[in-house]
């Protein structure tokens, strides 16, 4: 049977220059250019992912992204104000009993925003799919953001309430909700299988979380004396449950990542498109951990290095052309005037932000996209011939909700 493998092309140097140019313009335009920056970076990344040699294409435009952002701003401003007012009204009526309720109700406001964040994510995904083409055919997603928002909120609480045990249920049901609403041309994607397939990959995570939690509880019950006014630790009690518990809890992050990656492998293998086009996606946890670690190390050092080079250059120019002799220069360094310090602090902040973003693209997002896309395989591609174009989806906020709520993707 025929298989389409995926090639990742595109040169890291070109990406670096594109990220530097767009990042710089974003800074000097006080953030307005970020819609153009995101659009251009997406175009670049999409075109470097080439299943069967044909690149993906991102067809979104910066202008529609900016307009969508403004639309989302208007709606969210009214929604947020309504939530705030409700919080204030509740707290004022609760104040009769307890003045601390005043603060309690205000703290409840962020919780009310949670469904909005899921709503924004669905809308952003719908926009991105509607603006993605492959082989000249559009992807698309049918409406359903509110259904996703309340389901996601409910499953999140269910997962938290069961100590993570029902995480696979949340993963599977939400993925099925999204997949079954996703289209390529006039062909629909379907998610098959069930949440049971995901419990295996979750086992190490549950073992560490519950084992670590249990050991810490055991330590607290045996070694801590709660009868005193200030709880005291009994130095003679064995300390190993404390250290073992902490070690297990720190491993949960690793196993959570393993679960996420493994569940992607399982879920992608159980999707199909149209009349039986099937997929495989084989990201490796080891590789992803390495990309995280090595990516951030390189970003950190490259940012520091670039910052020093630029400032060294600025000082050298100031020295040579600024008509300062050595003692004046020393005076400036030892006793800098306040406005110089503020200028330097602002410049430092802007430059570190810029370089960190640019290097993160080159050293972290680039290898991540490369690794994941290179593991994509499409089976039975001859069935693609039966697929036809779908209409353009113009009714979208262009990811504006995710932008305003800062619930966006990595790029």
């Amino acid at each position: 049977m025929a298989v389409l493998k995926t090639r990742f092309g595109g040169d890291r140097g070109a990406l670096f220059l594109l990220a530097l140019k767009t990042g710089f313009l974003t800074l000097v335009t006080a953030g307005i250019y970020r819609f153009w920056a995101t659009t251009r970076l997406r175009r670049w990344y999409w075109s470097s992912v080439r299943p069967g040699g044909a690149p993906l294409e991102y067809t979104g435009t910066a202008l529609e992204k900016l307009a969508g952002f403004l639309l989302a701003l208007i709606l969210l401003a009214f929604v947020l104000t309504a939530i705030n007012f409700a919080g204030i009204a509740v707290s004022i009526s609760a104040m009769e009993q307890n003045s601390w309720a005043f603060f309690g109700a205000v703290a409840g406001v962020p919780l009310a925003i949670l469904p909005l964040i899921f709503f924004a994510r669905y809308r952003a995904r719908r926009y991105i799919l509607a603006r993605t083409c492959w082989r000249g055919i559009r992807f698309g997603m049918t409406p359903g953001a509110w259904g996703y928002a309340w389901r996601a909120t409910m499953y999140l609480f269910l997962t938290l309430a069961t100590g993570g045990l029902l995480w696979p249920l949340m993963t599977f049901r939400l993925e099925k909700y999204l997949t079954d609403r996703t289209w390529y041309g006039n062909a629909r994607f379907s998610q098959h299988g069930s949440a049971m397939r995901l419990f295996g990959p979750l086992l190490p995570f549950i073992a560490c979380l519950w084992g670590g939690g249990g050991l810490l509880t055991y330590f607290a019950m045996t070694a801590v004396d709660f009868s005193a006014t200030v709880p005291a630790i009994n130095p003679r009690a064995p300390a190993w449950p404390l250290f073992a518990g902490m070690a297990l809890l720190s491993l949960t992050f690793l196993f959570a990542l393993y679960y996420r990656v493994a569940s992607v492998r399982v879920l992608v293998a159980l999707k199909d498109l149209g009349d039986g086009i099937e997929f495989d996606l084989w990201p490796r946890t080891r590789r992803i951990v390495w990309i995280y670690f090595w990516g951030y190390v390189r970003t950190y050092f490259a940012t520091g290095f670039a910052y020093n080079v630029v400032f060294g250059f600025v000082f050298a120019v100031a020295w040579v052309f600024g008509d300062l002799d050595a003692s004046q220069m020393q005076g400036l360094i030892e006793n800098p005037p306040a406005n110089l310090l503020v200028t330097l602090a602002v410049l430092t902040f802007l430059m570190v932000t810029l370089f960190a973003r640019v290097f993160r693209q080159a050293f972290f997002i680039y290898p991540m996209v490369q690794h994941i896309s290179e593991t994509l395989e499409i089976h039975q591609p001859e069935l693609l011939g039966g697929i036809r174009q779908r209409d353009a989806d113009s009714r979208t906020d262009a990811g504006g909700f995710a932008e305003a709520l800062d619930a966006g993707a990595a790029f």
């Binding site: 970020r34 307009a67 701003l73 208007i74 009214f78 104000t81 003045s99 925003i113 000249g136 697929i387």
Partner: protein, 392 residues
């Protein structure tokens, strides 16, 4: 070959180059030959000989493409068909024959939509931040039960002063003088909330009013004042804030607009910068409300001084002297400048009120009482202490 090219009829049939076509209807890759026909590009399927024609003028290049070995073209800004040309000679020939390789842009009409959205967004934010939220805060402030507001005020006082290390000044004779001054001002005034007036050890020339009738005079202000009437005029100003419930309303306003300004900045420079920018913007909005509140408190103070038979211009002389001594910038840190209207305006307002005033009453404190008040924190100059509190 040379022979063939010399035959014009045959040369016209030769393809410019070969390319891959996705027709935008089906995802099947077609092998096509390209020829120039006047201002059109003829695209011909090499197997079926089906043809389509693109205008060389309308044709667009797909921008920000990461592949160096190929160029991708669209028929215009709207069409979904894509032509992938990989041969450099073919691209060169295409350029020679008049194709402009202009980058693909979005469909038309986007600027209009953007303009409408920008106007609507600006109107919404102004309407919410300066209309609906303050209106709601005024209504909500009236509905807070006084007992709860007093308890809240105590907590706030602890946060602003006690937790920061400020200590109350408690010399009995000083407290008696302070109480006499307070009674002289509030005699016959209908107060919703009982006043709690304190002096704290703090060298700044400042006084604050916070939620729940908590008025605090810094010892630095007592040291800088030359007459008890000057202190009384500042106290009257702070009582004005209490009566107008300025601080409570400002707090509810802040809660009502929580997160609104942050929306504007979204994900620009990362979380910390967004928070910083949002807080600066919020302060600017607060300052505009604050100037209005300060003006009202000043008017209230003039009326209160007059009603108590005290000279309203005491405030003018006090501020005028401070300005002469210290210069405007030195008079407390930036918060004074941002939240207090220009000193000159306040002096002018105080003098104008004083001109028309009837000054009939006895001095607010006797000399002995005034000395006791100035010594309320113990003998000697005001001690070093923390600078705390948002001046109101």
């Amino acid at each position: 070959m040379e022979e063939a090219l010399r035959n014009e009829e045959f040369a016209a049939k030769l393809a410019l180059t070969y390319a891959e076509l996705f027709d935008g209807i089906s995802p099947v890759k077609q092998r096509v030959s390209l020829r120039i026909k006047d201002t059109l590009l003829e695209i011909k399927n090499v197997e079926t000989h089906a043809q389509m024609h693109w205008s060389l003028h309308e044709m667009r290049e797909v921008p920000d493409h990461s592949e160096n070995e190929a160029m991708i073209f669209a028929p215009d800004n709207v069409g979904t068909a894509r032509l992938i040309i990989r041969e450099v000679r073919g691209l060169a020939a295409l350029a020679e024959s008049g194709a402009e390789f202009r980058p693909l842009q979005g469909p038309p009409g986007q600027f209009r939509r953007l303009g409408i959205m920008a106007v609507l967004a600006a109107a919404s934010f102004v309407g919410l931040l300066f209309g609906l939220v303050p209106w709601f805060a005024d209504r909500a402030a009236e509905r807070i039960p006084p007992a709860a507001e007093i308890a809240l005020g105590e907590q706030l006082y602890n946060q602003v002063y006690t937790v920061q290390g400020a200590t109350d000044c408690l010399a009995p004779e000083g407290l008696a003088a302070l109480s006499r001054m307070e009674n002289r001002l509030t005699d016959g005034v209908d107060m919703d909330l009982p006043l709690t007036v304190r002096v704290v050890r703090d060298p700044t020339v400042n006084a604050t009013a916070i939620t729940g009738g908590q008025v605090t005079i810094h010892s630095g202000l007592l040291a800088a004042a030359e007459t008890p009437e000057e202190v009384a005029s500042v106290l009257a100003h702070e009582i004005g804030h209490v009566v107008n419930r300025d601080v409570t309303r400002a707090q509810i306003r802040a809660m009502g607009s929580y997160g609104l300004v942050g929306l504007l900045f979204g994900d620009v420079f990362g979380f910390s910068a967004t928070a910083a920018a949002a807080s600066v913007a919020s302060q600017l909005i607060d300052a505009s409300f604050s100037r209005e509140a300060e003006g009202r408190a000043d008017e209230f103070a003039h009326a209160m001084m007059e009603d108590a038979g005290l000279p309203p211009e005491a405030m003018a002389s006090f501020f005028g002297r401070l300005q002469a001594q210290r210069g405007e910038v030195d008079l407390g840190a930036l918060r004074h400048l941002s939240t207090h209207p220009d000193l000159r305006d306040r002096i002018a307002a105080a003098s104008a009120a004083g001109d028309a005033a009837v000054r009939s009453g006895p001095p607010v404190l006797t000399d002995a009482e005034w000395q006791a008040l100035q010594a309320i924190c113990g003998a000697g100059p005001a001690q070093e202490g923390p600078t705390a509190g948002a001046e109101k």
